[in-house]
């Protein structure tokens, strides 16, 4: 069975954190990056960003396009499919 998931493309990420906030916002209706299923981590030594999509992500089942994908303007997040366990 196929189920949608968030696919991250870290090389495109600019570290603006809008996805973190959008995810928390969609859950709580507040600007709340700490209730987010996405986390951006900056690698200071290499000047790169890592995108962590947590298990708690429900791919915004109630939305046509997940909030994090809607807000990301550099297309560092997209919708993919994975095999469910």
């Amino acid at each position: 069975m196929l189920r949608e998931t968030i696919v991250s493309h870290a090389s495109l990420c600019t570290g603006c954190r809008a996805c973190e906030v959008a995810c928390g916002f969609r859950r709580t209706m507040k600007m709340d990056p700490f209730r987010s299923s996405v986390e951006i981590e900056k690698d200071e030594a290499e000047g790169k960003f890592h995108i962590h999509v947590q298990e708690s992500c429900d791919v915004c089942q109630d939305l046509e396009v997940p909030a994090c994908i809607q807000i990301c303007q550099v297309r560092a997040l997209s919708l993919g499919r994975k095999f469910a366990q």
Binding site: T14, C16, R17, M29, M31, D32, R35, I71, V74
Partner: protein, 645 residues
């Protein structure tokens, strides 16, 4: 103590820190909200609480920094932190402004605003987290660079997500060009605000929070934000900034290489292509770019991330190379070595210096050397000849540590030229004492007016309008500014009105906390007053019509103007700018022969004062203007000082 009730948009708290008494107090933000937040709120506190007769580095001096109601929200570019201080350079007001992530984190830590007074008896840093604040020892941090400071604080607090705004050695040594650096490369650069921090023995502010910010109408706010994001993504100007950064969009003559820019201490504004080609954005991109980085919630990400190999197989990650970097350290000093530009910007960030300030004062030193007013004896053997990149790098360190000639230069170009004398004042490039690193001053008359009238001293981020470059439909130009001439660079018509309008407009932008690159400053189709009114209402529930927002912006600018009159005694003569721009035309290129005409400039200045309702002869504010704006206290203070018309 503040009630725990949290408003929407604003975090709800103002933090007061007295470093002499080592005390932190929390107040509700509500009494100040008529000034929105950020710059407006900071300016009002500075105006109210700063005695006129103090030095900017006295303990009684006030630092007011804050993030407006849109910061930390998802509005495009809602990242900006405003830092208001009494300027070390002009003794008027300084409103430095910085992006990055510090402002958003301040909101999540539960605060909109911090007000700092007093002086600590030994180095301290302020730790702000989740509605609380404490003053901690920074003895172990004193002497460290901004990069070392951020790392040490994160280590001490055992949290890699702490955001730090700090000073480097330049701030500790009270350099006039010292700034506050956030996120290692974002600068609140203006007015020597780093020196004000240094004078208080305040090394840094660290923030971290997990407190959510409420949204008044979440669905309306979200849908309007998405609409704005789409509009920004369609904007040609935003696309250019996204693709090439400010460096590619405006630097080294702009995308077509034809935009005038400061050359050899602004002696000229034409830099031949055979020199400019060495510093084109593509040179840096192809050699060193490893990616891009954005401020909080920014769709444009105008900042390049460069990786520069240095000694022993190590590399330097350099951010913050913008159009002002390549102009200030490049054409302004006739330097064509791109690696030196990167090293220079990295040093500037580490030492906590303002790029424009040091570029200007080093340009002055190079010219003084060329004219024989400074000799090898004065420079400890350093040849300050145009194009000498090693001399530029050496002087950056000398300024920050006040060594050798650096001690003179660290006083700011106005004071340095007063001390050296012998005619060197004539080529000290500043307005009101604030050093300048500019472009298109001779060719674009409204741009010049915006720089020279700025309450910050100089700089193109207040009233200077890009309409002269963007163009404007004649009907729209006539409706807004009375004439379509406003879009012609060489015309002096309509520029006074446009400058006054943008001063008020940008006061609003800075008070809400969004970045200018999201606004109609760079593209007339981007965020305007109506958009800001919608964002503000859906975020906070506060309904303020577009025209009333502009009036609030006008109030804010008038508070700054009054601060300058009362604290620095500034008048009309301080709004005219350096003679060089009137006397020495551009030598070649598409704007060959362009210079400012003093008579026509003065006519333009008249139009500007009339647009504001200020007195033409003195440049002072008038009773009728301040009555119209409801600034009763400002009017009374000016009247008491005998400086009101």
């Amino acid at each position: 103590m503040v009630e725990e009730k949290q408003s929407s948009g604003w975090a709800g708290r103002l933090l007061r820190v007295n470093l002499t008494e080592m005390r932190c107090e929390i107040e509700p933000i509500d009494p100040y909200l008529s000034f929105l937040g950020g710059r407006g709120l900071s300016d009002w506190i500075l105006f109210e609480e700063s005695p006129h007769d103090i030095q900017p580095t006295d303990p009684q001096s006030v630092i007011a920094l804050g993030a407006g109601p849109l910061v930390g929200m998802l509005a495009p570019g809602a990242s900006r932190l405003n830092v208001s201080t009494k300027s070390v350079l002009t003794h008027g007001i300084s409103t430095a402004n910085v992006g990055g992530h510090f402002g958003a984190e301040l909101k999540y830590a539960g605060f909109d605003q911090i007000v700092i007074q007093g002086k600590a008896s030994y180095p301290m840093f302020l730790w702000v987290h989740n509605g609380r604040a404490e003053i901690r020892s920074a003895r172990g941090l004193w002497g460290k660079t901004t990069w070392e400071t951020e790392e040490a604080i994160r280590k001490e607090l055992q949290d890699e997500k702490v955001r730090v705004a700090c000073i480097g050695p330049a701030g500790e040594n009270l350099c006039a060009q010292a700034c506050l650096i956030a996120d290692k490369a974002r600068a609140a650069g203006w007015g020597g605000c780093g020196a004000v921090f240094g004078s208080k023995n305040l090394k840094a502010i660290a923030v971290r929070g997990t407190m959510p910010v409420k949204v008044f109408n979440p669905e309306a706010f979200w849908s309007y934000t998405i609409k704005l994001q789409e509009r920004i993504s369609r904007s040609r100007a935003a696309q250019i900034l996204h693709r090439y950064g400010t460096h590619g969009a405006y630097g080294v003559g702009g995308p077509f290489g034809s935009t005038p820019q400061g050359v050899r201490n602004h002696q000229d504004e034409y830099w031949p292509a055979e020199k400019g080609m060495h510093l084109r954005e593509i040179v840096f991109r192809e050699k060193w770019e490893i990616g891009r980085t954005a401020c909080f919630s920014c769709p444009i990400s105008c900042t390049h991330l460069y990786k520069l190999p240095v000694k022993d197989g190590r590399s330097l990650i350099v951010e913050g190379v913008h159009t002002n970097t390549v102009r200030g350290l490049g054409s302004n000093l006739d330097i064509t070595d791109p690696e030196a530009i990167l090293l220079g910007q990295a040093l500037i960030n580490q030492l906590g210096l303002n790029t424009d300030g040091v570029a200007s004062v080093i340009g002055w030193a190079f010219e003084a050397y060329e004219r024989g007013l400074l000799t090898l004896e004065d420079t400890d053997g350093l040849e300050l000849s145009w194009g000498n990149a090693q001399a530029m790098l050496a002087l950056l360190e000398q300024i920050a540590y006040r060594k050798g000639l650096g001690d003179l230069l660290a006083r700011g170009v106005k004071e340095a030229s007063r001390i050296l004398g012998r005619g060197s004042e004539a080529f000290a490039m500043h307005t009101k004492g604030q050093e300048m690193n500019e472009q298109t001053v001779r060719s674009h008359k409204g741009w010049a007016l915006g720089i020279f009238t700025s309450t910050r001293g100089s700089g193109h981020l207040n009233g200077a309008s890009l309409i002269e470059r963007l163009g404007m439909e004649p009907e729209r130009a006539k409706a807004l500014f009375g004439t379509e001439e406003v879009a012609r660079p060489e015309s002096y018509e309509g520029k006074g009105k446009a400058t006054a309008w943008f001063e008020s407009f940008k006061s609003v932008v800075d008070s809400l906390g969004i970045c200018y690159y999201m606004t109609l400053w760079i593209d007339l189709e981007l965020i305007g007053l109506e958009d800001m009114a919608v964002l503000l209402e859906s975020a906070t529930g506060k309904t303020i019509e577009a025209q009333e927002l502009l009036t609030i912006g006008e109030r804010i600018y008038n508070i700054e103007k009054a601060f300058n009159t009362l604290h620095a005694g500034l008048t009309r003569k301080d709004d005219v700018g350096p003679k060089r721009f009137y006397e020495t035309p551009i030598s070649a290129g598409p704007f060959a022969g362009a210079s400012l005409d003093l008579q026509k400039y003065n006519n333009m200045l008249d139009e500007y004062y009339l647009a504001h309702g200020w007195d033409l002869a003195s440049g002072w504010q008038t009773s009728s203007c301040l009555d119209r704006l409801g600034l009763k206290e400002v009017k009374e203070r000016l009247a008491q000082a005998g400086k009101l018309k």
